[in-house]
């Protein structure tokens, strides 16, 4: 059994790494040194070891839960008590291992990718803080503590997306990510308040208990859960708050790899899983999760079909896969949703690292300028294909297992099931479209900043983490072949390894999804490798759809130009501003100037002529007499 102090250490170690890098290494160590990277790598290695230990302890612990004492943070008698407390159960432990492992791989890779960047130290400082915040979010035992880390995760993505802040596009993307997710956070905060008002607690375990026993029920539970889900929609880039994620690739590619796999976007899915007993007991909230998830899955996949930027394709695929996870949570439960998160973290990190590797060699992310990299970058090619097969859901790679379970559980909602099946086809198509455009055919010259006309494989420090992730992209799914993953996170039913491995072929549904995925790959092969069908002609044939997808359903325009710029900034806020300067301040100045003009007018009456004063006095006296006579 792991002592609880070590669990605190899991997220404090990256924090110490941040402090060391920010306050000692960055000011005092010379730019060429790579010690900052090693600091974080060392911290994360220990965190990973501790996380594995935690997982092992949780597996054997009663109820799969470790007790951790709480610390008082703010106490207001007769008011509120805020704790710093941890909740360590199977969900926590699995997430800890995923985050520390994926982050570690990415940090090793970054030693190669970020070499020579003038912001090298800053990069590792933010990466430390980012990992720390995500780990903190995972272990937090109450909603306030969690919200603290939740916001810090958002801050770190802001800092890392805007890492190259001198690029206006990067600064814009960073701002967009922060503000769009903050719209969701608004809902999260309101959800927290609703739950607190009705239960008097922020403690997650207590809230679970109250929801399960039915004390917390009805519209309170539904609105609380939906508020929390709004936070998840923002962070996990679900429709309609997904617009920030495709732009978020402005940061360095390893940052995208981390954001898209283990941190930031997975925080939303984790949040729903963490609060699952609340959703489970509110059919309306649970349906909302499933519907948003299912719609997002197909919606994002459709945009991925036409993107030409390799990172953008991956970004849409992330949104789509997150939609799957939400669908899995909404229809099947924690184990199913989180299992996909678990597998997805490895292959999606790998895909991004592959994209980074390709960019390292060609100087571009535009797939139209790539091609033919198969022979030049064999390792990148091999690992990228493995990850693509995995995400497409090909047996027996990891993606198959978790996607299969989601699709099966989605059967409960026929419409969502159909959407999910179409998405299977689309996913396979756009992933292999990317594979063939990038690696197939002949090299098309790379970007304007390409180093030479003949790209080379990336250095070992980048290739090794990719291979490690590729191994997991193949095998991680086998954990639940025996049903043990599901048992750990909730519902039982375990069986033998080989029985589980070949079990899918005894059923119809896996066949169906395998055939759809195969067709998707085949279609990509026909269009982009063999060019039997012209992509241009297809684009013209389906012109309305094509431009709808290409312009991202015009949602960015709707949000930014119509709602924010026109309706709010120019319209409503502009009229407020005019009201403020002319209306409110106008009255203030009007009172002042009326005093001046009034004074000027009255001054004319001070003529200094006694006759006039006498006249006024007479009128006054008469008026008084009349008043007394009539009213007195």
């Amino acid at each position: 059994m792991i002592p609880y102090q070590f669990i605190w250490l899991i997220f404090l170690l990256p924090f110490f790494s941040f402090l060391i890098i920010a306050f000692f290494i960055r000011p005092f160590v010379k730019q060429e040194s790579r010690i900052a990277g090693y600091t974080l790598i060392a911290a994360l290695s220990i965190s990973l070891a501790l996380s594995v230990w935690t997982l092992a302890s949780v597996m054997t612990a009663p109820n799969h839960e470790l007790p951790v004492p709480v610390i008082n943070w703010v106490v207001i008698e007769g008011g509120v008590t805020l704790h710093l407390g941890l909740l360590v159960d199977a969900l926590t432990a699995v997430m800890l291992v995923v985050v520390t492992f994926v982050s570690l791989m990415i940090q090793i890779y970054s030693q190669g990718y970020m070499r020579g960047d003038p912001g090298y130290h800053r990069y590792y400082a933010w990466m430390s803080l980012f990992t720390m915040s995500m780990l903190g979010l995972i272990v937090a035992g109450n909603l306030v503590f969690m919200f603290v880390f939740w916001e810090l995760v958002g801050l770190c993505s802001y800092l890392l997306i805007g890492f190259w802040f001198h690029k206006p596009s990067a600064a814009n993307a960073a701002k967009k990510a922060f503000i769009v997710t903050r719209v969701g956070d608004f809902g999260f905060l309101v959800g927290i308040l609703i739950l607190y008002m009705n239960t008097g607690t922020f403690d997650i375990a207590e809230l679970h208990e109250l929801a399960i026993t039915g004390v917390l029920a009805g519209s309170v539970l539904t609105w609380g859960a939906i508020g929390i889900f709004a936070g998840a929609v923002g962070k996990s880039a679900q429709f309609p708050l997904h617009t920030w994620l495709p732009d978020a690739m402005e940061g360095p590619t390893p940052v995208s790899a981390l954001i898209h796999s283990a941190t930031m976007v997975s925080a939303g899915v984790f949040l729903v899983a963490r609060m699952f007993p609340l959703f489970e007991n509110s059919p309306a909230a649970l349906t909302t999760v499933a519907v948003i998830g299912g719609v997002t899955a197909i919606f994002a996949a459709s945009m991925g079909l036409v993107a030409n930027d390799i990172k953008r394709v991956l970004a849409y695929s992330t949104i789509s896969q997150l939609g799957y996870m939400m669908l899995g949570l909404g229809t099947g439960g924690v184990a199913i949703g989180i299992f996909h998160l678990f597998n997805h973290a490895f292959f999606k990190a790998l895909l991004f690292l592959g994209a980074g590797s390709v960019n390292h060699a060609t100087g571009t992310f535009d797939m139209r300028l790539m091609g033919g990299l198969r022979r030049m970058m064999p390792w990148t090619y091999a690992t990228f294909v493995i990850a693509s097969l995995s995400i497409a859901g090909i047996w027996p790679l990891s993606g198959f297992w978790s996607k299969d379970e989601i699709v099966i559980s989605a059967l409960a909602q026929p419409v969502l099931f159909v959407l999910a099946m179409i998405t299977v086809f689309m996913t396979a198509f756009y992933m292999f479209r990317a594979v063939f455009m990038t690696f197939g055919g002949e090299y098309r010259g790379g970007g304007p900043e390409a180093h030479d006309s003949h790209p080379h494989e990336s250095p070992n420090v980048m290739v090794v983490p990719m291979v490690a992730l590729a191994v997991l992209a193949v095998f991680s799914g086998l954990w639940n072949v025996t049903g043990h993953f599901g048992a750990l996170l909730g519902h039982g039913e375990t069986h033998g390894f080989f029985a589980g491995l070949f079990h899918p072929f005894t059923q119809v549904l896996p066949w169906l999804s395998l055939i759809l995925a195969g067709l998707g790959i085949l279609l990509a092969y026909a269009i982009y490798d063999k060019k039997w069908v012209s992509a241009e002609r297809l684009g013209r044939l389906f012109r309305p759809l094509y431009s709808l997808f290409l312009h991202k359903y015009w949602l960015d325009e709707l949000y930014e130009n119509v709602i924010v710029k026109t309706v709010l900034l120019r319209g409503l806020f502009g009229s407020f501003e005019r009201f403020d300067s002319r209306g409110v301040d106008g009255v203030v100045n009007g009172v002042a100037s009326s005093a001046i003009y009034g004074g000027r007018a009255l001054r004319r009456m001070q003529t200094g002529q006694l006759q006039l004063y006498g006249l006024f006095m007479g009128i006054g006296i008469l008026a008084i007499i009349f008043a007394i006579f009539f009213f007195g």
Partner: protein, 497 residues
Amino acid sequence: MDFSYLSILLFLPVAGAIIVAFFCGDRARLIRWLAAVFTFLPFALSVALFAVFDRSQAAAGLIQFEEKLLWIAPLNANYHLGVDGLSLPMVVLTTFLGFLSVLISWKINLRLREYFGWLLLLETSILGVFLSLDLLLFFIMWEIEIIPMYFLITIWGAGRKEYSAMKYVIYTLLGSAFMLAGILSLYFTTGSLNMVEIASGGLGMVQTIMPAAAIFFLLLIGFAIKLPVFPFHTWLPDAHTDAPTAVSVMLAGALIKMGGYGMIRLCVSLFPGVAKQYAVILIILAVIGVLYGAAVTLRQTDFKRMIAYSSISHMGYVLLGVFALSQVSLVGAAMQMFSHGVITGLLFAMVGLVMHNTHERDLRNLGGLARQMPIIAVVFSVAGLASLGLPTTSGFAAEFLIFIGSFTSTIVPGIQIYTILSILGVVLTAGYILWMLQRVFYGPPLEKFNGTADADILERVYMFALIAVIMLVGIYPAILTDLFKLGISPIVGLLGG
């Protein structure tokens, strides 16, 4: 009363002002150093008092370090000072900002003697407001502040400084006139000027000469103008924008907090019943202040004016917290006053630096400064993030307490809706803060700003001091909440749950 700590604290700055103004000639170095010493000592003393303040629950509501001397016998007016859990942190805030504002003014060269004289007098008058327990003393201290402010803005200000200074003076005097009427009616109905006495037994003393609600509103208008509450806020952007940097820091950091403090100390604790009755109106004004203030902030193009408008929005949260009238919301409101003091103090100091170093204040002409002034960019970002309420900064601790306190308050039906509306302000705040950061610091570096200086040693000292406080309160809010709750709980007790 064993030793007059509070009197020393109160009169050190004004003693410094007299020495600086009349006995130093034109020796600039000496003047600066003396001003620094005479603001540092009160700061050190207030921190010492903060440390030895009795925090036990038994001390809730007790006035500590009390001093009382008969002043004007026929009026029964006393020179009466004292601090409780509510006022002590505000005193520390004032002395802290007072000291830093001297450092911020280090580069001022125009009419130095007068400048520091007025600045130090300003500090004493603000301290006087937080320390007074006698209504007459309170009012006099409240009024004295106008004189230094007028000269500081007209002489050392910029832009339409005469207009802004005059507007500030007249607007404040208007509020004071109402307040004076309120204080007088209070005096004539209760026969006492002692705040503690009136609060503890005074409600029974209020007779029929004037309805309690009328007195409540007379006092409230004065405080509402100072805080400021929509629609009495338009003096603030003008005064802030045209004042010299250090004065903006004092104005936004400490001075407008007198309004919130007065509301809690006089309006709520003397008239709990009336406060309850009219809370809904003030809460609606608070929500308008938060949202409307943030919306207008988003439209500003002047760097300094933007921060000024953001204050209106943030003070809306104070008003919400005060009139949600629950233990947590009132503690949150007090926290927000302190937190906004340091955060906005820092923001104004930074804006002043950027404007001083670049000679540019139009946001549309700034850009890319992160390369030319990296330290300022980092500090500004921290201040901005604190302003938008990021956890681990004091802004989050304060706003979150206000949200919890208001949401769970039972005083006003439907307060949850108002709270939710005001939480929307958090999104707008993120919008204008990030837009501003991007506009000023990000993007490609501009050639015209090449060679622009970054912060020097002295500037780094006060920046990091403010950041340290922001983070300390953010990470360990109990350092303040433990004190504020002692001041707040007896007031909540008067409200009857």
